[in-house]
């Protein structure tokens, strides 16, 4: 009996031992299943291709957000009241939204019929997608820092640089839209945060971008990435823009911001190893198509890749007509136009400027004959195809950076350095150089930016950051100081942002009414 018991005990302990030793290690293997039908975190970020696909998704996400409706036009070009809807044009009542925007009546532009169902500007008030870009960038950065198998150090650094650029650029974009925003750089941020002062956000982004700008190359050997993927030029242009923005809002430190902008501008303009140049104005179609040497940063699209953004999305959707838009029956006139008084101010009738001919048609007509062929390169539609020309969405380009540098220098009183830069842009346009004796350099640079960049989404933000929006001289529909200070220059924020975020506030100007 005793013997038997012992034997039993031995047997049991042997089996126990077997279970304890052999199974758990095999078990882990047995239980590790990688699903085939979805990419979960444990089977993604395993190669350079995964990182590349993830980076692509970040650009795509931003691009989708700014092409969901007439974003560039609504946020950057129409709020100061210079554009109007052409009477009796196709769907005139819908296009009247541009005049409502021009009165800075955002609540009506967002909510009212008949334009609401076409334009859905409430999408612009929803910042979720921007935060998705930021989260994606943060996640990518954290995964890169954790280490990706078989990814070279150089590639890793470049991807970090690109992700940081997209993060900072998104904050920059949001600040210009909404003012104070929630700022974080942590991956998988889940706790709600209150909005942070926008000057502080911009300062953090400037520091962030400066730390990582050298991770980026000046340009890419692969021409398909030129101007499309973030490069050091994009980063420096962004730093300049952020400084210029803060200079307008952080009154005590304006000089420091201008100096910082100039410093970045100098690096961009002098050390780029010929990565960038201004293309002859005759080659403008190359610039607007994208991937040009003039581009610092852009969102590229091509019908050849099957890209198909919303027909409303391009700025010039409403500023073109037949023969740039089809069908001819629907587009005998442009749907919107800029007032001739404004165009005359930008381009005085008797001053030579090739841009007047290359970028505009019937520039002073003050009706539906007005057109902006600046955005009409690369037409592929014909017959009854209602498609826009196949162009990219330019964000920063060299001419923009040159003029910004000139502006910063002029603000610092370094006119002698500013004027050659200004004239570099004018020379490309075949316009008479600016002469110091003319005076009014700062205003001239402002107007030059309007001439050069009209339709590229800078007007409103330049008006706001330079406070020119307060003056009838610069804006057809100026804001009062009181309105400006209460945030009339911002966009309303979707009230869903209040959900699950106790510290959140909306832009009070738009909640409590437009005031006086």
């Amino acid at each position: 009996m005793h013997m038997k018991m012992k034997l039993i005990h031995k047997c049991i302990s042997a089996v126990l031992l077997l279970i304890c030793i052999v199974l758990p290690s095999g078990c882990k293997k047995y239980l590790d299943i990688k699903p085939l039908d979805q990419l979960t975190g444990n089977n993604f970020f395993k190669s350079k291709e995964d990182v590349e696909a993830s980076m692509t998704s970040i650009y795509l996400k931003f691009f989708q957000k700014i092409s969901e409706t007439w974003v560039i036009g609504a946020v950057g070009e129409s709020r100061s009241g210079e554009a109007f809807a052409v009477i009796n044009s196709n769907s005139y009542s819908t296009r009247k939204v541009v005049e409502v925007l021009g009165q800075n009546n955002m609540n009506s532009a967002i909510n009212d019929q008949p334009w609401h169902d076409t334009y859905h500007f409430e999408q612009i008030t929803n910042w979720t997608a921007y935060y998705q870009v930021i989260q994606s960038a943060n996640i990518l950065i954290s995964k890169l820092n954790e280490g990706i198998p078989n990814l070279s150090e150089a590639d890793k650094n470049r991807y970090i640089g690109e992700a940081v650029f997209m993060r900072c650029f998104t904050y920059f974009w949001m600040v210009r839209l909404y003012g104070d925003v929630v700022y974080y750089t942590k991956a998988y941020q889940s706790e709600p945060l209150p909005r942070e002062n926008m000057v502080s956000v911009m300062n953090k982004c400037i520091a962030d971008m400066k730390q990582y700008k050298d991770n980026l190359p000046w340009t890419y050997n692969d021409p398909s990435r030129r101007g499309v993927r973030a490069n050091r030029g994009s980063a420096l242009a962004l730093i300049m823009h952020m400084n210029m923005w803060n200079a307008g809002f952080d009154a005590g430190h304006t000089t420091a911001y201008y100096e910082d902008a100039v410093k970045s501008g100098q690096e961009l303009l002098t050390q780029n190893g010929n990565a960038f140049r201004l293309l002859p104005i005759e080659n403008w179609a190359e610039v607007i198509k994208g991937r040009s040497e003039e581009s610092l940063f852009e969102f590229y699209q091509s019908v050849n890749y099957g890209d198909n953004t919303s027909p409303l999305a391009p700025f010039a959707d409403t500023f073109l007509h037949y023969p740039y838009k089809f069908p001819a029956s629907a587009y005998q006139t442009s749907l919107m136009a800029f007032k001739s008084i404004y165009m005359t101010k930008l381009f005085p009738v008797d001053e030579a400027d090739k841009r007047k001919d290359v970028w505009y048609a019937d520039i002073y007509s003050n009706d539906g004959h007005f057109m902006m062929p600046k955005f009409a390169g690369n037409i592929y539609a014909s017959g009854n195809q209602d498609k826009n020309p196949d162009n990219s969405y330019l964000i920063f380009r060299l001419a923009d950076a040159i003029l910004l540098q000139a502006e910063a220098l002029a603000e610092l009183g370094r006119d002698a350095e500013a004027i050659p830069l200004l004239n570099q842009v004018r020379a490309r346009a075949g316009a008479v150089p600016y002469n110091a004796v003319q005076g009014g350099l700062k205003d001239f640079i402002f107007l030059e930016r309007r001439r050069e960049l009209q339709g590229e989404g800078h007007t409103w933000f330049d008006l706001v950051r330079t406070k020119r929006i307060l003056s009838q001289q610069w804006a057809s529909h100026p804001l009062t100081v009181e309105q400006f200070n209460r945030g009339a220059w911002t966009w309303p924020i979707d009230k869903n942002s209040l959900n699950d975020n106790p510290g959140m506030t909306l832009n009070q100007y738009w909640v409590s009414g437009a005031g006086i």
Binding site: Y30, Y59, S190
Partner: protein, 1049 residues
């Protein structure tokens, strides 16, 4: 005389001498104790001898015994749950076979714990058994339905009458917060117990894996088990009992054992049922002219402008009464509902002895739905064979195949919107015909749907005792299902484009379990039992679907052409693969079967829970005291058995998925000609997710009294559910939608009572069994994520919001409080500041409008006036049964009840709202059939004090919304008592049956779903969703009249 005297003396001497002899003569008895029914050995049966009787020995694990006894005395064989067997000793005997007969006493069964059969006397967990014979009276597609009201604590609501579908099953209260959809169609994530069929765990929720409201293709494996083949169903309720089944058993375990062969002579039993299913009473509607008259009267009486009067002439269905097209009285409901004739057949053959036995069961079941174009049919074949060549070796093989076919019409099964909408069409319209057919009618009646599951389950089970007391047992099983759904929608039902939908899925599960059990008794007092085991489960499944629209012709249903722009699907739709590996140990010790302690520990590893948190650990402990075995209890001879149980255990269920831990990446569009793969922003991954814990304490008292005439079981439990997965909504500045978190918890506590009496004496020719059971369950929400501040409102489209508030019952309603109807205009409160009457949507209330509580006191009724109210979960559930028999004639009655539950009577809300538009949006089709409202306590004229607002003033529907769904007017008490079924049966005398060449004939007649007693004013208080919403689009339960018979050969 002398002779007599001599004889007497002789007898005396003989008697004395025999006594003398007996005192001296001890003989050896050897033999075996077995169960009379199953022929299985009975271990630990005791042998008593002497006065007072003393235990002299116990049988070993194979029922063998060896004892010395004095000739002439009596030895009593006793085993708990069996009638004692007395044996007069006449001499030594070597090969005794003592057959003990089971007592009819619920206390003393053999129960299955952790896949091992054990005497219930020494188990500490809470469980309840239902014998197979209790689920034979009524033919059902899914045997689960018949458990309703039979098991205390198992709340089954047969809330759909759709054939082959499952109702809701909850064991010991609510166990989830996961609510999907909203409004009328708010569904609760099913928390079904784990089913273990013949030792193999089965996933019973298979058919709902596509979503909670969307019944996916496939049929629950439970619907593929014929009820005739069920030997026993055991429901494990507390964590001690379920801990050994691990993480899948958090919602309880239901063990189904099918029949085995145990008859020396092969037996053949044929069972057949014929049943008629009838629809419930349909909605009363007004037909033909009465409908028109009522609508006109409604318009004349309530029109606010002359335009409305003019509109009558523009609505031909109202004005053109002489046109035969508009001059009908069609009862549209009768077009959809029907009475059906159905049948079941089952043939069972079994035979064999201890060494080899076998069983096979062939079944057919057909139930045509009471809604046209729906139904369920099933073919099954189940077999098993057991080989036991000697005491040390046992081998069993199971094979079960089933084909189940469902027709869902054009609905989802338990939702039939097509029918619900079209059954309300105006009666003035002509009946369905080719040119007039509305899409809905064709769709409901002509959509060809076939949803078929083919299932094969095989398993082999071996057991070998390689040392005395040490058994090695191993089980392998393979379960394969193929699910196919084909739907053809004819052109007339789908905007003139016919459509084909095909779903094809397959799934399989491979299961293996190995156990080592050790069983021993020392000094006849100390018994120990130890078991170590592991099991692995490998599941996989794949499905795909195609949909082709615009096939050329209704006659042509394939092969399919190709039309890329209008067709969808074709790829792999779903793919799943899951693995489970578990290890467990269990130990049990008892002293004299008096004091019992059970310990168990199980470790589960799941492939879905991520490698960082791979294992979940389920411990349990249980104690039992069989106090009737104490010596001091011998005075209470009326008490047969009595025991107290205390147990504690935890079931840990991983709720995480690879997605919730690691996040998910989606293939996105192209940018710059490159593929993008981006973050999925639905949920933020949470690597810190911990599994859901269900910790349960159970206290139980079991009594069996008066020779088994009275049984009483009482259980009290406290179940604490923590770390329930809850998707916490996130601020949109995080970019993500929600965060799966563990920050919720709830508690269920309650009491369960089971009481059974057999009041008549054993000698009586009448047999009467009465039983009653009740379960009271309280559910309290104890925790929500911090950000919610103790409350989360789940807003619904129709305003019937659900609210989660800490400290209250988990799922309450959040509604406007209706306080009656304004009798006269003066009753409407006036704002003293503005002088304006109470208003909503810019319109002032007036007499006949609902009196809705102005919670915030601003004299405007709006979304700020909602309040928490009601409880959608029942507090009290249970059932009762009575069976009376005289010789071979008998009657069984089963009833079940549910009490203390809030139901939202949406059926009445929709019925009253039908009056909202007497014109109808389509002048040719008119509005819906109107319902007579004489029975409704409705305001009709100023001064009336009524419950319901005025229904005929159609102009106020848009603003005042008198019958808005989101008010407490629809909250009603859902208490009901339902007579589930009444069965009368008769067995023919042997003489008659043998003359017919049959050994036994039994006939029976039943009615199921006999009657429901309820204060509820809607159609059926059971036909509601798990959240208590009465769904007028639901599939009603039928009443069945059944005639059945058994033939034994």
């Amino acid at each position: 005389m002398k002779i007599k005297l001599i004889l007497k003396v002789l007898v005396c001497i003989l008697f004395l001498s025999s006594n003398l002899n007996a005192q001296n003569l001890k003989v050896i008895l050897k033999g075996r104790v077995i169960d009379e029914g199953t022929k299985q050995p009975i271990p630990m049966a005791s042998l008593f001898a002497g006065t007072p009787p003393k235990a002299i020995t116990f049988t070993d694990e194979n029922g063998h015994f060896s004892a010395a006894a004095v000739v002439g005395t009596t030895v009593t064989f006793r085993y708990l749950g069996y009638q004692p067997y007395k044996l007069k000793i006449t001499g030594a005997q070597e090969n005794l076979v003592i057959k003990l007969k089971e007592l009819d006493n619920s206390m003393d069964e053999v129960v299955i714990r952790g896949y091992v059969a054990r005497s219930k006397e020494v188990t500490t967990g809470s469980s309840f058994s239902v014998k197979g014979s209790e689920v034979q009276d009524v033919p059902v597609a899914n045997v689960e339905q018949l458990l309703q009201g039979k098991v205390p604590g198992l709340n089954i609501q047969n809330n759909t009458g759709a054939p082959g579908f499952r109702g809701t099953v909850q064991l010991r209260g609510l166990a989830t917060l996961a609510v999907s959809n909203s409004g009328t169609e708010t569904f609760l994530q099913p928390t079904s117990p784990l089913y273990v069929i013949d030792g193999i765990p089965i996933d019973a929720d298979k058919a709902s894996e596509m979503g909670f409201n969307l019944q996916g293709p496939g049929i629950s494996p439970l619907s593929l088990i014929p009820q005739e083949d069920i030997e026993n169903i055991e429901v494990l309720k507390d964590a001690q009992a379920t801990a050994l089944y691990g993480s899948r058993a958090a919602y309880g375990v239901i063990i189904i054992t099918t029949k085995r062969g145990h008859s020396q002579i092969p037996r053949i039993r044929y069972t057949s049922n014929f049943f008629v299913s009838t629809p419930p009473a349909l909605r009363q509607t007004l037909g033909g002219n009465e409908e028109r008259a009522l609508k006109l009267q409604q318009i004349y009486g309530n029109a606010v402008s002359f335009q409305d009067i003019i509109r009558i002439s523009q609505t031909p269905i109202l004005s053109d009464s002489l046109n035969s097209y508009y001059n009908n009285s069609t009862n549209w409901q009768s077009i959809f509902y029907r009475t059906t004739y159905n049948q079941t057949h089952n043939l069972a053959i079994d035979g064999g002895d201890e060494k080899f036995n076998y069983k096979s069961n062939v079944g057919y079941f057909l139930s045509n739905g009471i809604l046209k174009n729906t139904g369920f049919s099933r073919y099954t074949l189940n077999m098993n064979a057991e080989l036991r060549p000697n005491d040390r070796f046992r081998f069993t093989a199971f094979l079960s195949g089933g084909v189940g076919k469902q027709q869902k019409g054009d609905g989802l099964g338990f939702l039939q919107y097509g029918v619900a909408d079209n059954a309300q069409a105006s009666s003035l319209l002509p009946g369905p015909s080719f040119y007039q057919s509305s899409g809905g009618v064709v769709s409901a009646l002509q959509t060809l749907n076939s949803n078929a599951t083919r299932n094969i389950r095989t398993s082999i089970d071996g057991e070998y005792m390689f040392l005395p007391g040490v058994k090695l047992a191993s089980t392998f099983s393979y379960n394969y299902s193929s699910d196919i759904e084909d739907t053809f929608t004819p052109a007339a039902a789908n905007q003139q484009f016919s459509q084909v939908y095909g779903f094809n899925g397959r799934s399989s599960a491979l299961y293996n379990r190995n156990m080592i059990n050790y069983n021993a008794t020392f000094n006849k007092k100390h018994s120990i039992y130890v078991s170590i085991a592991n099991d692995i489960n490998d599941q996989r499944g794949q499905s795909s679907s195609i949909r082709q629209a615009r096939t050329p012709n209704d006659q042509f249903q394939g092969p399919l052409g190709f039309d890329a722009s209008n067709s969808a699907g074709g790829g792999v739709l779903g793919y799943n693969r899951g693995r489970l590996a578990s290890f467990w140990g269990a130990a049990s010790y008892d002293f004299m079967r008096k004091y019992v302690i059970d310990l168990s520990y199980r470790i589960d590893g799941t492939s879905s829970s991520g490698l960082n948190n791979l294992y979940s650990k389920n411990p349990s402990i249980g104690l039992r005291w069989n106090f009737n075995k104490e010596n001091w209890m011998s005075a209470f001879d009326w008490l047969n058995t009595g025991s107290l149980r205390v147990s504690w255990g935890k079931n840990i269920t991983p709720t995480a998925s690879l997605t919730s831990i690691y996040g998910k990446y989606n293939i996105g569009g192209n940018y710059n000609n490159q593929q993008s793969i981006g973050v999925d922003f639905g949920s933020i991954p949470n690597p810190d997710l911990i599994p859901k814990t269900r910790e349960m304490y159970n206290f139980g008292l079991d009594l069996s009294m008066f020779n088994g005439k009275v049984d009483l079981n009482v259980d009290a439990y406290y179940s604490d559910i923590r770390n329930e997965l809850y998707n916490r909504n996130l601020s949109n500045t995080t970019g993500f939608g929600n965060l799966p978190s563990n920050e919720t918890g709830m508690v269920n506590y309650g009491y369960e009572l089971y009481f059974a009496v057999r009041p008549l004496s054993n000698a009586s020719k009448f047999k009467l069994n009465l039983s009653f059971n009740a379960a009271w369950n309280n559910n309290i929400l104890t925790r929500l994520p911090v950000g919610y501040n103790g409350q989360n409102i789940l807003f619904a489209d129709n305003g019937q919001n659900t609210i989660l508030r800490v400290g209250r019952n988990t799922l309450s309603n959040y509604l406007l409080v209706n306080q009656g109807v304004y009798s006269v205009n003066k009753d409407v409160p006036v704002d003293p500041v503005t002088g304006l009457r109470y208003q909503t949507n810019g319109k002032f209330y007036q007499a006949g409008d609902p009196r809705i509580k102005d919670v915030n006191g601003d004299y405007i009724m709006d979304k700020n006036d909602y309040q928490i109210t009601g409880n959608s979960q029942p507090l009290l559930t249970g059932g009762m049964s009575a069976s009376l028999s005289y010789k071979s004639l008998g009657i069984n009655i089963y009833a079940s009840y549910t009490a203390k539950r809030t139901i939202l009577n949406n059926a009445l809300a929709s019925r009253l709202s039908i009056m909202n538009d007497p014109f109808g949006s389509d002048p040719l089709k008119g509005s819906k059939a109107v319902v007579a409202l004489p029975d409704i306590d409705m305001w009709r004229a100023p001064g009336d004090v009524a419950k319901y607002p005025y229904a005929y003033d159609y102009t106020r529907y848009a603003t005042i919304q008198p019958f808005r769904y989101d008010q407490t007017l629809w909250e009603e008490d859902g208490t009901y008592l339902k007579i589930n079924n009444v069965t009368v049966f008769y067995s023919f005398p042997k003489k008659i049956s043998q003359r017919l060449g049959v050994s036994n004939i039994r006939v029976q007649a039943s009615v199921s779903n006999v009657i429901t007693f309820s204060p509820y004013s809607g159609p059926n208080p059971e036909n509601v969703t798990a959240l208590g919403r009465d769904l007028s689009a639901g599939y009603p339960n039928s009443r069945d009249y059944i005639f059945g018979f058994n033939l034994d050969f």
